[in-house]
Symmetry: C2
Subunit: 458 residues, 2 copies
C-alpha cells in the first residue's frame, strides 16, 4: 500500500475521533474581536498546539504577539529536494450571540443530520483542522510525509490579522516554502468543489456624524437643528447611484475591465436568481446593473453598511434628538484596487456631501488587499488533481466575494503562490447565525488534503 493510501485509510477509520476533536475545538469561544474572550483565544491556541504535538508535528510554538498568539509548527524530514508546503489557517472566530437568531448555542456544538452547528465550524476551525488531520494520517501510518510542511495558524484573522504580517516579515527564513495553501473559502454545493482564484480586498470604516454637543429634546429642538441620525441616513443614501453602482468619485478607476473570456469563464459558475432568493430569503435580488451575480460577488467592488447606531434604541418612545450617529461601512475591492486609496476617496466624498449643518468624520478601521491567481499554475493543477482523487470530483475555479487579505501579503512577502482550496460551502452561514459545517465535507476535505500533499510532491 502506498503511503497516501495508508493515510487515506487511517483517516477513514478515525473519522469519528476527528469529529469529536473538532467539536471540542469549536466549543472554545475564541472570539478575537471581543476583549472578554482574550483567554478563550489563548486556550484555543494551546489546544491546537497540543494537538499538533500529539499528531507528530515538531517545533510547535505558541508565539505571543501584542494581540492574540500565532502558532507555528513543522515537519521537515521529507528529504533532499523535497518541496515545502506552508499551511495557513485561523482559529479565531466572529462574535456570536444566541439571541441573534441562533437556533442552538453558538459555542455548544450540536450535530443535526451529520451537520455540525457552531460558530467557527466552517470559518475557519473546521477547514483548518482538516490539515492537522491529514498530517496525522500520514505520520501515524508511514511515519513520514511526501513533502515538508510548515503550519502557521493565527488568532486575529477576524480582526484584520493585526500582528500577522509583522511576524511574517520578521520570520521569512522560518516560513520559507514553495507553496502556501489556505482553506478558508466555499463552494456552491457539496458535489462541486471549488478552488478560489480571486478574493476581494476590504476597506472597513466608521462614518460618524455629529450635530449638537449633547442629546436634545426632540420637541424643544426638532426642526431647528439638523438631526445627525437623519444626516447620516442622507449621507448613506448618496453612496449609490440609481443603477446601484457606488457613487464615490474615482471608486472604479482602478478596476480592471473584464474581458469577454473572463466573463465567459465566470458565467460558467454563476448562480440563478432562484438560488439567491432561496438561500437568503429576500423578496427580490439587488445589485449593480449590467453584471451577473458571480461578477458582482467576485469581480466588482461594493459598498456595504455593516451596522448603524444612533440615539434611543431601547424599549418604548424616547423623544431624543441624538448628538451623533455612526455607521460601520466596508468596501469589498477587486484586483488592482488599493484599500488605502479607497478609504481616502470615501473620506473625501463624505466630507464633500456633509451639509454645513453637521460635522462628519470617516475613521479607517482596517484594510486588506484583493488577489487574483492564474488557474494554470502547476500548484493549482496539483490542487485540482487532489480534489478529483480525494473529493471525487474535478473542481471549478471561482472568484469569491469574501476577503482573505493575507493572500496578497503572503505572495509579496514570501514570494510564493497561494492556493485557496476551499472545504466549505457559501451557505455555511459564516459570520451569521447558525454557522454550520457538513461533516461529510470535513471527511472529504481530509481525503483531499492528504491527496494534495501527495500531488504537490510530484
Amino acid at each position: 500500500m502506498t503511503s497516501v493510501d495508508a493515510a487515506r485509510e487511517y483517516a477513514a477509520a478515525h473519522g469519528q475521533q476527528f469529529e469529536q476533536q473538532l467539536i471540542e475545538l469549536v466549543s472554545i469561544p475564541s472570539v478575537s474581536a471581543e476583549s472578554q474572550h482574550k483567554a478563550d483565544v489563548q486556550r484555543a491556541a494551546e489546544w491546537l498546539a497540543a494537538d499538533l504535538r500529539q499528531v507528530g508535528a515538531e517545533n510547535v510554538q505558541v508565539i505571543q504577539t501584542a494581540g492574540h498568539p500565532i502558532i507555528y509548527a513543522d515537519w521537515l524530514h521529507a528529504g533532499a529536494g523535497a518541496r515545502t508546503v506552508l499551511i495557513y489557517g485561523h482559529y479565531d472566530v466572529q462574535p456570536a450571540y444566541k439571541e441573534d437568531n441562533w437556533k442552538t448555542e453558538p459555542f455548544e456544538p450540536t450535530v443535526i443530520e451529520n451537520v455540525l452547528y457552531a460558530r467557527g465550524s466552517s470559518d475557519d476551525k473546521g477547514q483548518m483542522f482538516i490539515h492537522l488531520k491529514a498530517l496525522e494520517s500520514y505520520l501515524k501510518t508511514s511515519g513520514s510525509l511526501p513533502v515538508n510542511v510548515k503550519f502557521l495558524l493565527e488568532g486575529e484573522e477576524e480582526i484584520s490579522s493585526q500582528h500577522l504580517m509583522d511576524f511574517v516579515s520578521e520570520n521569512k527564513e522560518l516560513l520559507k516554502a514553495d507553496v502556501c495553501v489556505i482553506s478558508d473559502t466555499g463552494a456552491q454545493e457539496i458535489e462541486q468543489p471549488a478552488i478560489t482564484t480571486g478574493v476581494r480586498g476590504l476597506t472597513y470604516m466608521e462614518i460618524w456624524v455629529y450635530g449638537p454637543k449633547d442629546d436634545l429634546h426632540s420637541g424643544g429642538f426638532g426642526g431647528i437643528v439638523h438631526n445627525p441620525a437623519l444626516g447620516l441616513a442622507q449621507i448613506l443614501s448618496k453612496m449609490h447611484n440609481p443603477d446601484n453602482s457606488v457613487a464615490v468619485p474615482g471608486f472604479y478607476d482602478d478596476v480592471v475591465v473584464l474581458s469577454e473570456q473572463d466573463r465567459a469563464d465566470i458565467a460558467k459558475t454563476d448562480v440563478s436568481e432562484a438560488v439567491v432568493k432561496d438561500l437568503t430569503g429576500v423578496p427580490e435580488t439587488w445589485g449593480e446593473a449590467g453584471f451577473n451575480f458571480r461578477e458582482r460577488l467576485g469581480a466588482r467592488p461594493t459598498f456595504e453598511v455593516n451596522g448603524i447606531l444612533s440615539g434611543w434604541t431601547g424599549e418604548g418612545s424616547k423623544t431624543v434628538l441624538p448628538a451623533k450617529a455612526m455607521a460601520k461601512v466596508s468596501c469589498r475591492l477587486v484586483v488592482n484596487q488599493n484599500p488605502q486609496k479607497i478609504y481616502e476617496l470615501v473620506r473625501d466624498y463624505v466630507a464633500r456631501i456633509t451639509p454645513p449643518t453637521l460635522r462628519s468624520e470617516v475613521k479607517l478601521l482596517s484594510t486588506g488587499s484583493p488577489a487574483l491567481m492564474e488557474s494554470d499554475l502547476p500548484e493549482v493543477k496539483a490542487a485540482a488533481r487532489a480534489y478529483t482523487t480525494g473529493w471525487g470530483k474535478e473542481p471549478v475555479f471561482l472568484r469569491e466575494g469574501g476577503s482573505i487579505p493575507i493572500v496578497v501579503d503572503f505572495q509579496r512577502e514570501l514570494n510564493l503562490p497561494v492556493i485557496m482550496m476551499g472545504y466549505g460551502l457559501n451557505s455555511d452561514g459564516a459570520h451569521g447565525p447558525n454557522e454550520h459545517y457538513s461533516l461529510e465535507m470535513f471527511h472529504r476535505g481530509i481525503q483531499t488534503a492528504i491527496c494534495f500533499l501527495d500531488e504537490i510532491s510530484k
Copy 2:
C-alpha cells in the same frame, strides 16, 4: 398679614428644607420606560403621597393601574362658591445613563452654583413639586387655601400616559374642577417667564426594514442582495424635501396657515441664530425654509429620527450584511393635525417608497394631540398676574415645541381650560444628559404658584 403673604413668607423661610426634599425626590430613579425601574416608580409615588399627607392634603391615594400608579389628593374646604383648581404633574422621568455624556450621576443629585443636576430635576419633578410646596405654605400658615385644590400626579407621562385617560374618563366627578394647571414647560431665560399657549402633538413610530432572513457575510452576499441598513437610510433620506419640509404626501393638509397677526405675535419671542448655535453647539442651524425658529418649533410639524439600530455596532470590524434595520421616528404635530392620520400617512408613504428588494413595516408606538389656547381667557390672565407678582416679571406667551398630549385630553374629557405655567427653562436639558434645574427658579416658582391660587380665586 393676608394669607397669601403669610404663605409667601413661609416659603421663603423654608427654602432650604424644600430643596432638600426635592433632592430626595430626584434621587429616586423613577424611569417609567424601563421595566427594571418599576419598583422605583412605585417608590417615588409613595414618597409623594407621604409628602402630600404631611403638608395637609386629604384623601391621598396611590392608585394602581395596569402600568405605573396615579396619585390623587385634594383639599376641598375653601367654602361655598369657591373655585376648584386641578393640578396635574408627573413624577416619572426619562431614562438616563452616566455614560451618555453626563458629568454627574443622573440619580445622584448634585448642586453646582445653585443649579440642581439630576434626571427629572426640571422635567417634571422640580416643576411639579412647586405646587406641593405652595399648598404646604398656605396650610402651615393660614390652615386654609383661597380655592379648592385637587392633585393628579401620574407616573407614565414619559411613556405616553398609557393609563391616565382611562382613569380620567372613569373619574370625571372626582376630578371635576374649574381650571387645570400644568407646570411642565420652559421659558427662554430666567428673567422672562412664559405661559405656554400651544403644545405640539406627537406620533411616535418604529420603521423596520427587512432583507435576508438571517444576517449574512457581507463578502459572500454584498452586492447581490439589498442591505436593509442601506435601505433604511435610503427610505429616511426621502422623508424631507430639499427645503427641509416633510415629504410625506398630505402631511401639511390639516396645518392651519399662520395669520399675519400670529406671525407678528410669534416673532416677538423668536430666538436668534446665535442663541440656537450657542445653546446646541451645532455648526449651522437647520429647518423648514420660510419660517423662523419659534414658528418651526411651535407652529410647524416636524419629522425626527430618534434612534437607529442595525447590524454590528460593537468593537472592531464585523463584516455582516444585517438581516434587518430599525429607526425610531416621531412627528411633532400642530393644532388641527390628527396623530392617527399622520401615522397612516407615514405608513403608506414608507410602504410606497420601499423598493421591491426589501420589506418594511411601520409600527405605531404612541400618539398625543396638539393643543392651542386663547391668551385672553380669564384663567390665563390670572396666571399672568401671578407671574407679575410672584416671579417679579410679566410673562410672555409661547407656542412650545414639545408635546403634552394630556392638555387636549383634559380639555375634552373634563371640559375645563388648561393653563401651562412653565417653571423651567428650554435649556434645562430635559430628555438629554446633564438635566438641571435652577434653584432660584424653583423658589420663584413656589412664590408664583402661591400667588396663582390667590389670583384664580378672585
